[in-house]
Amino acid sequence: MNPAFSVIFLTTLTGAGQGLFLALFAATLAAPGRVPAGFAVAASAVSVVLLVLGLIASFFHLGRPERAWRSAARWRTSWLSREVIALPAFTAAVFVYGAAKWQGFEPAAAWIGAAASVLCVALFVCTGMIYACIRFLQEWATPLTVVNYVLLGSASGTMLAAALAAYLVPDLAPGYADAATVITLAALATRALSLVRNARLRPKSTTQTAIGIKHPSIRQISPGFTGSSFNTREFFHHRTREFLRAIKWIFLVLAFPLPLVLLWTGSILAIPAAIAFAFAVQYVGLLAERWFFFAQANHPQNLYYALTG
């Protein structure tokens, strides 16, 4: 697939927003009383901003953004439609949660937070499933896609929570640092697992099944045009293998070990900026991870345009 930056930003921004909210709400559950309302309000606000930015990014993916409202119509069958419902619903819930915190509507806030958490998980699943449900995109068609997406989003959100806490409520920072570390390592594990899995994939579709001719040696000699088409632009990244490999190592470094090093440096030396930097580095790593996620997915349609690949 040719990675679309709108979608890369959408998924990484909302992922971080979701992770951040979960980190916040989890803290209110795990350490009731130790999470000041101000922090909750601030974290909710940051989460909403990220979610809205993600939403805005998503519009860039649409040919006809003015009709975006129509996309809620098919929630019964379409994970995309479900995401389109879940994302604003969750954003609204976080907003209301933040407002409730701000206004000090206490038990209500907890209930809203619980509801928002459910929406958050739903949103994670929806977004993950958008990719995982396309069964012939074999690199994506695995539960790992959802798991990775949840863990990566949570890791970056928790990392952000750690950074925010370092500035606002240093007390909370170590807990978040621990959590961010655990989640990042878990994400690394599952992401690595998916890399291993994908490296071993045998494409189910071949040129032979694509055109229905059983012969070991088949080559395309013309895709039917000498320029490009939607199908060559949308589904090919037009990059070299080396470039892909480089991006893989970049994300493996930027999304996992490097932010952890920064996180712990920041935590131990009590430099909030280092933790903020850890988040930023991880975010960049996740951008690369998303890019790679798309680029690695080899769409079977590409068999029909092999000559352009």
């Binding site: 080559r219 000699i221 039917g224 045009f225 000498t226 320029g227």
Partner: protein, 959 residues
């Protein structure tokens, strides 16, 4: 569902497509005056409703930004090729031409030359030239496929191309040789598909497997230029195994006719005649002899109850030794064994043998008997028509080599041996073919034919039967600028357009004044050695005067050639004009009878465009050319439609351009008085006149008494003598005798004597193409050829927004083994060099090409800025033209000779040998050579759209 809501209803107009020479019937659907879509006319006999990729893209041709819309004059002081023009009025343009042509006509008419490319109105352009009085007229045929026309017409009286073809409806084995697309492309596709579905076996012989060959049951890859060897070996095998149709040959060919041996003086190698039996038409004497097997003596041919020996040697009563023509053929092919051909063609001998057996056995054992009674030319009544269901089709893969004439003669002979000429399941003629061998028209015989202010006595082109028919002066010097019908190319029945610019530039045989090109892109893909030709067009003498003083171009688009004209005449598109597909030129006849058709304008001309037909008729009137004016000098024809209706070949002949609905009320056909409502009647009948003949006139027409007499009655032919297949060609032998000094009358100049003696062999023989003979095969080991892409027509579809997306640039296809041996990667830039030029292009690996061959699609590469394409269009930067590698002249005995067939002058487009190497790492990723971009000509589109969305009947997408 209903069509687009709110859209105005569409209106349908029928006419004839001209996105190529196939001439399919089309329905043009108009919405609000714009073309909604074009589809095939289901009621048209040729295409029966189907259409091709080009025809379906007619909209983009019609609204192309490259349309020329105003007459243009080259700006004073600018060089040809710079593309600097100023618009002028038609009146200025015509006056300018009139003045110039009037002066030429009054002094030396041959200083005006009119050459036309892929047009279909040669009857009119030819008439104009004849009336003007210049012999310097020809159409594209000479560089196209004249070998195909001449090789077959001189042998069987008809040819492939639009003159005849395979009867695939009844065939069982179909062998296609060297064809990629051809003129009859839609009908051929319809037929091949039906044939395959009916279980017929399809064999394709071609160095490359694309298009039609792709669906062949067997692909026989062959080295280019070697088909002659293959065909002669097939003949060898068929004769050796007795698989020929003896009965057919005896009656319908000259196989049994006795040929004098070398001891007969000026009759050596000519047919022995029986002075006592009637000769018939002196041009086509019928009093030849057979050696009767039953009575063991010479008898007149076709004597009742006689059966000639086809093999053996006999002594005539006077003591002269004679042999049947078939015996000579058998002797000729004896050394041409399959093993011999295998070494030349690259086809295993076993395959050649198998194919020969398959042809012979299928022809013999799967005979068709149709219950159709007919009478042959000798009065014998037959109750059935027999067919041997083996058919062939061949085109430029054979024709476009300088040994093509003999190759094609060999093919025609093979088809004849199998007994497949004008028989069910074999080859079938299309009217007006078969014609006499050779047809009666003769070219002007010498300088006396050209006189000031006087029409030529006959058409400029014809069919020489003997040296006396050549267009040469007393010294044997050519009369024509292109040296057609000279001793260099005696049977150049379509002229040699590819020699015109070089000869005019060099002033050899003489300088000319005005060169008018109609519909020919001579500054690009229709010339060999294109870079040089462009230089010649722009070259000046010491005084700074152009060597070719005045160049006029009629074109519809800003082609490469348009930029080299001094005067540009903007023509219409096919949707904007009247046209005729005439029996006088290239009709669209079916196997079952004559068909002609018309084109009717469905849209008004764009801008100031004017049909070239109208321009010619106007000019002819202004110049007072006799056929176009009344006795008082006043213009005779109002316009082209008026001309078509009222013109008669001779006053009162009743023969005109159109054969249908003649006579006062449209009640006559083929001939009859002019009918003022003729156009309407065509319009009301799908633009076609189809005269279906009874089945008894549909077969065996070379010798079908009823049919031949019918052709005479309807004035299609002058006489009704049988047209015997010429296995042995006396015409060729007459030239050879002249070269050997054994014949009274004209003899070739000294330096051409052995050339004539060699190539005018009365029997086919194999020789490597002249270019191959002149090229060091160690240094240039690969043959380079082009072929037609189905979705593009020569150069002229690159202005088409849809078609150019399919082929915006081309690759050189190379067998991977060949490419790897030179270190060339798939898709990489590479150099291709011939002894005559080089190009840089992109490689594409292909397993569907014979390893000794490289090929590309024809005419996809373009000069920058032409066709109103952006200067950085793919066509000019990634595409390339193979023509840069091909030479128009070969070194020859210290001088040069055209890279053409020595018999017919056919251009050897596929005669070029090359070597390949990778482009160096630092070289630009761009094709070479590059040309400075030509600016848009005035009258073409102002600006090019970045996005074009065509929706008919809206303001969108209008160029």
């Amino acid at each position: 569902m209903t069509p687009v809501p709110g859209a105005p209803a569409t209106e349908i107009r029928k006419t004839t497509c001209y996105m190529c020479a196939c001439r399919c019937g089309i329905r043009v659907h108009l919405r609000d005056g714009e073309v909604r879509y074009i589809d095939g006319n289901p009621d048209h006999p040729l295409n029966r409703g189907v259409i091709c990729a080009k025809g379906s893209s007619g909209i983009m041709k019609q609204y192309s930004p490259a349309r020329l819309t105003r007459p243009l004059r080259r700006k004073e002081g600018s060089a040809r090729g710079d593309g600097e023009y100023e618009p002028i009025s038609w009146d200025e343009a015509l006056s300018m031409l009139e003045e110039r042509l009037r002066a030429i006509r009054a002094t030396d008419p041959k200083r005006f030359a009119l050459f036309t490319g892929r047009d279909q109105m040669q009857a009119l352009t030819g008439l104009f030239a004849r009336q003007f009085g210049t012999p310097n007229y020809a159409a594209h045929g000479g560089f196209c496929s004249v070998n195909m026309a001449a090789g077959m017409i001189y042998t069987i009286g008809g040819s492939f191309w639009e003159f005849g073809g395979p009867d695939l409806e009844r065939s069982r084995l179909f062998v296609m040789i060297g064809t990629a697309e051809d003129h009859h492309s839609n009908p051929l596709k319809i037929e091949i598909a039906k044939f395959k579905r009916a279980g017929g076996r399809f064999v394709s012989i071609n160095p490359v497997r694309t298009g039609y060959s792709a669906i062949a049951d067997e692909w026989v890859p062959i080295r280019p230029g070697t088909d002659g060897a293959l065909l002669l070996a097939l003949i060898h095998e068929i004769i050796a195994t007795g698989l020929y149709d003896r009965d057919f040959l005896v009656r319908y060919s000259n196989a049994g006719q006795l040929v004098h041996g070398d001891d007969a003086g000026e009759a050596s190698g000519l047919f022995a005649v029986d002075a006592s039996s009637p000769e018939g038409d002196a041009m086509y004497p019928q009093n030849k002899l057979w050696w009767d097997r039953l009575t063991d003596r010479a008898v007149p041919t076709h004597a009742p109850d006689a059966d000639p020996y086809l093999l053996g040697e006999f002594t005539l009563p006077g003591g002269k030794r004679v042999k049947p023509a078939f015996q000579l053929l058998e002797e000729r092919v004896r050394p041409y064994a399959p093993e011999w051909a295998a070494a030349i063609t690259g086809i295993p001998a076993a395959t050649i043998r198998r194919l020969a057996h398959e042809m012979g056995i299928t022809a013999r054992d799967q005979k068709i008997e149709l219950p159709i009674a007919w009478t042959d030319s000798w009065g014998v009544e037959h109750s059935t028509v027999t067919g041997n269901p083996v058919s062939f089709h061949a085109m430029r893969g054979l024709a476009a080599h300088s040994n093509g004439f003999h190759t094609i003669r060999a093919l025609a002979i093979l088809m004849s041996l199998l007994g497949t000429i004008d028989r069910p399941g074999g080859f079938r003629h299309r009217a007006p073919f078969p014609r006499a061998i050779p047809p009666a028209a003769k070219p002007p015989k010498g300088p006396e034919a050209v006189k000031p202010d006087t029409p030529l006595g006959a058409l400029a082109l014809g069919w020489p039967a003997a040296p006396e028919d050549l267009s040469v002066d007393g010294d044997g010097k050519p009369l024509r600028l292109d040296k057609g019908f000279s001793w260099e190319y005696p049977l150049s029945v379509h002229g040699l357009m590819h020699n015109v610019i070089t000869n005019a530039w060099r002033g050899d045989p003489y300088p000319i004044d005005t060169l008018l090109f109609f519909m020919a892109n001579m500054a690009w893909n229709s010339s060999m050695n294109t870079v040089e030709v462009r230089r010649m067009l722009n070259d000046r003498d010491e005084q700074g005067r152009y060597r070719i003083p005045f160049v006029v171009v009629s074109d519809t688009f800003q082609s490469e050639m348009a930029g080299f004209a001094d005067l540009i005449l903007p023509d219409t598109t096919y949707l904007e004009r009247h046209d005729v597909m005439s029996m006088l030129d290239r009709p669209i006849s079916e196997f079952d009878g004559p068909v002609d058709s018309v084109r009717m304008p469905v849209l008004p001309p764009k801008g100031e465009c004017r049909p070239f037909q109208e321009v010619l008729i106007e000019l002819a009137g202004r110049l007072g050319l006799p056929a176009f004016v009344r006795p008082d000098g006043a213009r005779k024809y109002r316009d082209y439609p008026d001309f078509i209706v009222n013109y008669e070949t001779e006053p009162g002949s009743g023969i005109g351009f159109l054969a249908g609905w003649r006579g006062k009320g449209g009640e006559k056909f083929m001939h009859g008085e002019p009918n003022p409502r003729q156009w309407e009647m065509y319009a009301a009948n799908n633009c076609v006149y189809h005269h279906a003949l009874p089945p008894s006139y549909c077969y065996m027409r070379n010798w079908n008494q009823g049919y031949l007499e019918w052709t005479q009655r309807v004035r299609m032919r002058r006489h009704s003598q049988p047209i015997l297949i010429q296995l042995y060609s006396e015409v060729l032998q007459k030239f050879r005798l002249a070269a050997q000094g054994r014949r009274p009358g004209r003899t070739p100049p000294e330096h051409l004597k052995d050339r004539i003696a060699t190539y005018f062999d009365p029997l086919p023989f194999y020789y490597a193409p002249l270019e191959a003979q002149a090229t060091d095969s160690e240094r240039f080991p690969l043959a380079a050829i082009t072929q037609r892409p189905m979705a593009m027509y020569h150069s002229w579809d690159s202005q088409n927004a849809w078609l150019r997306q399919i082929h915006a640039h081309n690759h050189l296809y190379v067998n991977p083994a060949t490419a790897r041996a030179q270190g060339i990667a798939d898709g990489a830039w590479m150099w291709v060099e011939s002894p005559w030029g080089k190009v840089r292009c992109m490689a594409r690996y292909s397993e569907a090409v014979e390893p000794g061959t490289v090929w590309t699609w024809n005419a996809v590469g373009k000069a920058a800025g032409a066709w109103r394409l952006d200067a950085n269009a793919n066509e000019s930067h990634r595409g390339f033209l193979l023509n840069h590698l091909i030479t128009d002249e070969l070194p020859w005995r210290g001088t040069r000779i055209s890279n053409s067939d020595p018999v017919t002058g056919q251009a050897g487009w596929y005669d070029v040998h090359v070597r390949i190497r990778p482009a160096a790492a630092g070289e630009p990723a761009e094709s070479w050579p590059q040309f400075a971009a030509v600016p848009p000509l005035p009258g073409t589109a102002e600006a090019l759209p970045a996005l074009q969305s065509y929706v008919a009947g809206t303001r969108k997408g209008k160029a």
